[in-house]
């Protein structure tokens, strides 16, 4: 059972465009939603994270939008650059109890930003 569904699988945008990656979750116990960026041959690196008590969080050119009722969240990258070309993963974890330290990842979105 896939608990975090991510789309699209791949995305190509022009430099300066605003790619949007979407994730949906099923487990209502999830209360922490990070996004990770992964370059080829490297491990995932934490980009930005949000909790369900806010609907939006911005850090630099990266914005997370969160819709608790729809159980969906998305990543927007403003003024995208070729250096943003990477695979992006959404993830989720629960707040307490067994497994609260585990991250459940989506399948990833490969983003290509064309100069």
């Amino acid at each position: 059972q896939q608990q975090v569904k991510q789309s699209p699988q791949s995305l190509i945008v022009q430099k300066g465009g605003i790619p949007i990656i979407n994730c949906a979750y099923e487990n209502t116990a999830f209360d922490y939603f990070p996004w990770y960026q992964q370059f080829p041959g490297k491990g995932p690196a934490l980009l930005i994270a949000i909790r369900p008590d806010v609907s939006e969080k911005k850090e630099g050119r990266f914005t997370i939008s969160f819709n608790k009722s729809a159980k969906q969240f998305s990543l927007h990258i403003m003024d995208s650059q070729p250096g943003d070309s990477a695979t992006y993963f959404c993830a989720a974890s629960t707040g307490s109890g067994a497994g609260s330290y585990q991250l459940t990842f989506g399948k990833g979105t490969k983003l290509s930003v064309i100069p």
Partner: protein, 116 residues
């Protein structure tokens, strides 16, 4: 060290061979995690250590997989009698805090295991 170090970076094993993958976490980090990342997929949780104690091994796919962290620092993931389906990148991550993924992991670059 400055980051999480994993070795070897690449490992090719013949089916049925045993392998050992090493992880050196960031110095002083209490928590250590192993994840498995199949090609084109997101990482999947394998096991969690708090210091030397293995608190969760629910993600280990079979009894051929074994992990240890005897002194609460370096960890080894061992896979016995490797099978082709074991081919994946094995990621190690560490965290300063004792619990909760939301304090942020630091991942290593992984070990790419190919079973032929």
């Amino acid at each position: 060290g400055a980051g999480v170090s994993q070795s070897p970076r690449y490992k090719v094993a013949k089916r049925g061979q045993d392998v050992a993958l090493r992880c050196d976490p960031i110095s002083g980090h209490v928590s250590l995690f192993w994840y498995q990342q199949a090609l084109g997929q997101g990482p999947e949780f394998l096991t969690y250590f708090q210091n030397e104690a293995q608190l969760d091994k629910s993600g280990l796919p079979s009894d051929r997989f074994f992990a240890e962290r005897p002194e609460g620092s370096v960890s080894t993931l061992k896979i016995q009698r490797t099978q082709q389906e074991d081919s994946a990148v094995y990621l190690c991550a560490s965290s300063q805090m004792s619990v909760r993924a939301n304090y942020g992991y630091t991942f290593g670059s992984g070990t790419r295991l190919t079973v032929v």
